[in-house]
Amino acid sequence: MKNMFLRQSSRAVGRQELWRLSRRGLSRLAPTATATTTPSTTSSATRPLAPNSRSSALAQQPSTRRQFHATRELQVVKPVLLADIGEGIVECEVIQWFVEPGARVEEFSPLCEVQSDKASVEITSRFAGVVKKLYYDAGEMAKVGKPFVDIDIEGDPENKEAEALTPPEPVSTPEGQQAIKGEAISTSTPQAIAPELKQAFIEAPWAQETPAPSHSPVTKQTGKHASLATPAVRHLAKDLNVDITEITGTGKDGRVLKEDVYKFVQVKASASIPSPSGATPTTPGVSAAAAAASAFSSPAATASGPQTETTVPLTRTQEMMFKSMTRSLTIPHFLYADEVDFTSLVELRARLNKVLSKSGLPEGEVKKLSYLPFVIKAVSMALYKYPVLNARVDLDSNSNGKPSLIMRSQHNIGVAMDTPSGLLVPVVKNVGSLNILSIAAELARLQSLAVTGKLSPQDMSGGTITVSNIGSIGGTYLSPVIVEKEVAILGIGRMRTVPAFSTVPGEEDKILRRQICNFSWSADHRVIDGATMARAADVVRSIVEEPDVMVMHLR
């Protein structure tokens, strides 16, 4: 019950974070300032010191927490002190907690409310992290200047530095270890990789070096923190008159080891100029296959480098696709797929195209028909018989909250197109009133506009059903996603030639060539049942398989 009053204030605090805050103002220690103004000195005094604080590179940072193992997050549980709330108050009562152990807090999220005589004070967190322990219950007196909550701090900026050291580690450690092993046998040469690899092909595999770029991250990192080295190594480096910051370390976290120093010296002494890989250790056991592979791979062989992530924002088209498909997620799809025999259509199309090419149409007219106009027309004809496929679902019609179907008179068939800018679905309007030629002309117009990116919003809107001809690129079956505000979509696969038995009576044993194409329908199962879809699909199939049927329906 005490948790019932979690937060208007926390939401308000979150909103207030958007306003400009002057952290300087908050850190001023006015005697009656709010409780969050903990002076940083008191807090850092309680920070645990890491074991190795000798490294000069990290010495500038006040925190000396460093990782020497592969844990991702820094586990530092920090006891947070109750700040002075002024007026000489030494203790105050905790009225209520806004968090519990295990709760995640951000910087500035409210932790608790305390009260001292007349003032009720909201205490917010200085850190982001996870609450580990509450020192007081609600109702108890909390002492000012003593810890009142433990927070497991995550994602400190210093921590990121330490983390930055870890990625190369999986690369360097095995090599480092193997370098130690292979030290005796290694024939480290100062030459560039390619001749090395070529040599390795013939010579002992363990003489190979791994591709250079895998080490360049290591190089960069260790170059920054090059003074990661034990005193013995440093001494050695000094003796040999070598600048330790120039040596790439191969030990844990990029530490410079003795062998690195020796190798570096050899590299320096030798005549040929080493690439950044010059000082790298050899890796025994890298097979010839890897060499072959790296020969194929580009010089920037990130194949063996660490996983890199680059953020690429979505393009306009991708964004639109993202939004649209996310909306389509609410539609329960079912897939209905069927094989359609295109043989007759193929013949018809061949004949028609001959006519078209001979007829000498003026420029700009369609010279050649593809299959798509026929399929689109067939779909439209099926829609006359099953108009429910042309409808859309309205979830909240007429303010009575019940869903309903909105039937639509025109068949506006969207055609999915793959353009240089991505997936676009322009719409062929009123297919019912168009003939094959005009459909083809419209398709051509839309296509040219799509390719140049000049489709108008008019062209893109108003679709009632969609056809996606992925078969032009490839594929047999597909499960297309229904476009928002529609209830069905047809995906057309690739046409292929298959052998089939003749259907001519008396010749059933004869094997013929048939052109087969797969139609994959997806429909909204909230309003379309399987039977309707099957029957409609059958109508389409029969028209496509016997295109002469269209002649019957000519107006």
Partner: protein, 434 residues
Amino acid sequence: MAALLLRSTTGGIRCLTKGPAFISTTTTTTISSRLGFSRLTKLRRSYSTTISQDLLNKKVQVYQSTSNDPYLNLSIEHHLLQHSHPDSYVLFLYINDPCVVIGRNQNPWLEVNLPALQETEDIKLVRRRSGGGTVFHDHGNVNWSVICPPAVFDRDRHAEMVVRALKDLGVTTAKVNERHDIVIAGDGRGNGKDVFKVSGSAYKLTRLRSLHHGTCLLNSPQLKNIGKFLRSPGEPYIKARGVESVRSPIRNVDVDTQEFNKRVVDEFLAMYEEQFGEDVTVERVGEDLKDMSNIRKGMDELTSIPWIYGQTPQFTFSSRPTEDDPRERPPLDLDVQSDFNIEFTLRHGEIQTANVSGLKYEGPATDKDFYDGMISKALAKGSDDESAVKLYEIKDWAAVLKSATAGQGLKVSDSSLNSLSEWLNKVFPGSHFR
């Protein structure tokens, strides 16, 4: 249509026009600053049906409430605290209907005479969000509230501002004491011995804003009764954590509320207007603000029983001195055994542990201890159990005690039960809230 209101620079004018002090068109007023020069400032005084973010971002904001609903006014205050711009200075003035207002962490059974409140029909019980002690509000009491950035927060700063306003009105002995209250001297002698409190303060400090609000007893008609309402019959028996009120003798300042409002606004503007020039707004707000969702939500919280009664920290109630609470108890006149003792510990207004002994039972009094134990257990179901006894739900202790003993095969004697219930009904009356 502008009217010009001129005011003299020093106090001394006690009888001034009553009635609405603000005209809803542009008014020009002369504001006397303490430095002695007058400035002619054009202030837009208007009535707002909502508090827009625009207003909340102004550097200097003055709001006066036309509503007397204490829950609404406190919600408006809270909304201003949370949503006004972090750099702004806000003054909010409001007058409440008669009500008793307890501090954020106080105990109503300890601080308030709940039976008395129940008898008088129209006095509300309010728990505010800031700390401090219990006060009584009515139409003769003006509440002033200042919200400012934490960097300039000082407990005395705005109390001094109100003192200046009072001095302007002729209350020459007004001053701020070490508890940050405003006091005036007694009957003219001013030797410091007879000081009377006229205003108490409380604070709420958040990360970005500091709120200081206080009362001011100007001309309360109920002055004599205030003490009655703030003395609880349960006080000798209840020991609470949380803040206890500090009693002070009180007195009316004897000044008109509208005049006081005007002066406080003037003083506030004098403090901050110079810095911020044009970025000032003076608004009147009222019942319309109930339509704002934040304020609505705030009111719902403030009027809820769990907030008013349930936000009480743990306390103990015992009829005899205990280790925690060794005070002498006044003698009880109940029809009970001589070793009678009743002890509760309560949290969030629910009985957590109970210990009852020494009731008079009917029939063979063979195993009184056992029966006492049964009652104790029945009363202390604990908060995990739905049927935990919630103090604020009890209409009549007789019923509670009866049900605690029901089905146990024992019966508390009627007179014992009645006398105990009568007493408990005084100490822990049921929910008063209307």
